[in-house]
């Protein structure tokens, strides 16, 4: 995948459509015929466009959502089926697009809004934005702040992976496993609340330091105990024929543009933590998980391994962290500049392009991992059974709020 330009989204502009491409280096925008993307000021986020219709005798078309009991977040799906088989599927995630306004905001308001861009992934997005601002300001990297952000992100990753595996267990009617996994996640959220002052890390990331004091002492042993409890649960889950049958061979896909656990589950060694522009992991013994079968089972195996790997990273980071600086709240300065940063969210590589003018956000563009994962789902679920929908969708850990625009 390195060096290859891939289409990561479609952006509407003046009635035309532009393909957004991104290689592994600097993001770029490629004009589709008749469109003008370079002149755009608002960088309205791209919305995946998948509109393959299926036609023919006995092809049945119906919609699911945007609000449905089985969906955690609102999203509409247009589904074409033949019997129980899904022929084609078109997601419409724009229903709940909040068109989050960040342009024109001061930096403090911008970071508060960006941590609410996708609440469950808040440390990733607020950390990315803070790192971008610090880089524009020319602040050198503070090692303790880097380690603090690594710890917060890895705790966030464990939380998200636990949620994904719990949802798969729920789909397979493994109710004891589902409840115990959800309980483990609750234990983790309580740890976050106690140590960071908010269950979703809101209000913690600041510029040049943390906006609130946090307690890192002994965090790795608490997280390690949660990972160990998870290990006991996983041993039982992988011995459950009902669970494995539902996810093995489900929503299989291999494409060079995939990111995150979906890519690693297809044997691609891609992880922004290796060479991302936001946080260094080179001294933290990062082990990149991988699997081969590219299906929902393989994605779960990658997530399972990443829970243990994150616990080990947290242990290493805690052993190295000293004193984390406090954030600068005032006098952030009349800074101007533009930079792209990327980070490995639990769903994979996410990219943020930040442009500041005189201490105010001029424009921001985010290309989230959920955009690629939604595309993975759309292609992978074809030819699967309707009852596989939950496993294909939940197994990719898609956050619909991430698919909304940032203005």
């Amino acid at each position: 995948m390195v060096g290859e330009d891939v289409i990561t989204g479609v952006l509407e502009s003046g009635g035309g459509e532009c393909e957004i491409t991104s290689g592994f280096g600097i993001p770029s925008w490629k004009k589709a015929a008749g469109s003008d993307i370079d002149g755009r000021e608002d960088f309205k986020a791209c919305v995946g466009r998948f509109d393959e219709k299926a036609e023919g005798t006995d092809v049945f078309n119906f919609t699911y959502g945007p609000s449905a009991g089985g969906l955690n977040e609102s999203c509409k799906f247009n589904i074409y089926t033949y019997g129980e088989r899904i022929l084609s599927l078109r997601p419409e995630p724009a229903y709940k697009d909040r068109r989050l306004e960040v342009s024109g905001s001061g930096l403090v308001m911008a970071i508060l809004r960006l941590e609410r861009y996708c609440g469950p992934l808040s440390p990733f997005y607020s950390g990315m934005f803070a790192a971008a601002v610090e880089a524009i300001m020319g602040n050198g990297e503070n090692n303790d702040l880097r380690l603090a952000r690594v710890i917060m992100n890895e705790v966030g990753r464990i939380s998200d992976h636990l949620y994904v595996i719990a949802k798969l267990a729920e789909g397979a009617s493994q109710n004891v496993a589902y409840n115990l996994l959800f309980g483990l996640r609750e234990k983790l959220l309580r740890l976050v609340s106690r140590r960071f002052g908010h269950r979703y890390f809101f209000g913690i990331n600041g510029f040049g330091g943390l906006a609130r004091s946090a307690d890192f002492g002994g965090i790795s042993s608490e997280v390690g105990a949660i990972a160990e409890e998870f290990r006991q649960l996983w041993i039982r889950l992988e011995n459950s024929g009902i669970f494995i049958d539902r996810i093995q061979g489900t929503a299989t896909l291999r494409r060079p543009w995939m990111v995150g656990p979906a890519a690693r589950a297809a044997g691609l060694r891609t992880d922004t933590r290796i060479d991302g522009s936001c946080l260094r992991y080179d001294d933290l013994d990062l082990e990149v998980a991988s699997a081969a079968s590219a299906d929902t089972l393989a994605r779960s195996l990658v997530r399972k391994d990443e829970i243990f790997a994150s616990a080990r990273i947290i242990e290493k980071a805690e052993s190295m962290i000293r004193e984390v600086p406090a954030a600068v709240r005032m006098n952030l300065g009349e800074i101007s500049g533009e930079i792209s940063v990327r980070t490995e969210t639990p769903g994979g590589d996410s990219l943020m392009r930040v442009s500041l003018a005189n201490g105010v956000v001029k424009k921001i563009y985010i290309r989230p991992s959920s955009l690629q994962n939604l595309a993975v789902f759309t292609y992978a679920i074809k030819e699967n059974l309707l009852t596989d929908f939950t496993f294909g969708y939940e197994g990719l850990g898609i956050h619909v709020s991430e698919l909304g625009g940032v203005l």
């Binding site: 945007p66 449905a68 709940k96 508060l112 493994q174 115990l180 609340s193 269950r199 039982r236």
Partner: protein
């Protein structure tokens, strides 16, 4: 290997005694910030009015510390009307009008073994048609206006509408509140409100004395 059932039963009891007993581990910054009389507070959400905080606007950011400190009391909701018909069984439907995803997860957390809302006769349902209450989270995204109107119409009577979280109540720092479409019977502040606060609101909304 032990069966799932045996394995589950062998775990120690996780479920809270709340609301009959005091809540353990309330996430502080989702509760009401109270003036400490020290220093000046800068509230990014304009929630501070003199020495009090308008909780419907508060985004639980903690930026007002040390001039304000949270009181740690989970019962922050305002219950404008109650429906005693739901005292024995209460079916709730979560409606995402444009959330960041966290309010949704805090409502769903009520089903985990720590809160286990089923012990109180509360359960999720899959459609507003079968629900007693609609729990609306998030700001009102343009695309969700019509689905929200339809969900409210589909609710059988009697019914209760909850606006849950700063976004749904006031728009928070993100967008529009849901008030243009529906008036909430119960508002549950916080960004996001913690599960104890949500449980407290659900109980009070059906007239259960705590």
């Amino acid at each position: 290997m032990k069966s799932w059932l045996t394995y589950g039963l062998m775990r120690k009891r996780l479920t809270t005694g709340f609301p009959s007993m005091e809540a353990e581990e309330v996430p502080l910054w989702t509760t009401t910030p109270v003036s400490t009389g020290t220093g000046e507070a800068h509230c990014p959400a304009n929630a501070i009015k003199g020495t009090t905080v308008e909780m419907g606007r508060c985004i639980s950011c903690g930026y007002c510390s040390p001039a304000f400190q949270p009181d740690g009391v989970p019962g922050t909701s305002i219950v404008r009307s109650t429906e005693k018909a739901f005292r024995k069984s209460f079916h709730i439907y979560l409606f995402d009008a444009g959330s960041c995803g966290s309010c949704n997860l805090e409502v769903k957390a009520l089903g985990n073994p720590y809160y286990d809302m089923s012990r109180l006769g509360i359960s999720f349902c899959a459609t507003p048609k079968h629900a007693d209450a609609l729990i609306v989270v998030g700001v009102l995204a343009d695309g969700m206006s019509d689905p929200l109107k339809r969900a409210v119409e589909a609710l059988p009577s009697p019914k209760l509408i909850f606006a849950l979280g700063a976004c749904a109540i006031s728009g928070g720092i993100i967008g529009k509140s849901i008030s243009g479409i529906v008036d909430a019977d119960i508002v549950v502040p916080g960004c996001p409100p913690n599960p104890f606060t949500i449980l407290d609101a659900l109980q009070r909304s059906r007239g259960v004395r705590l």
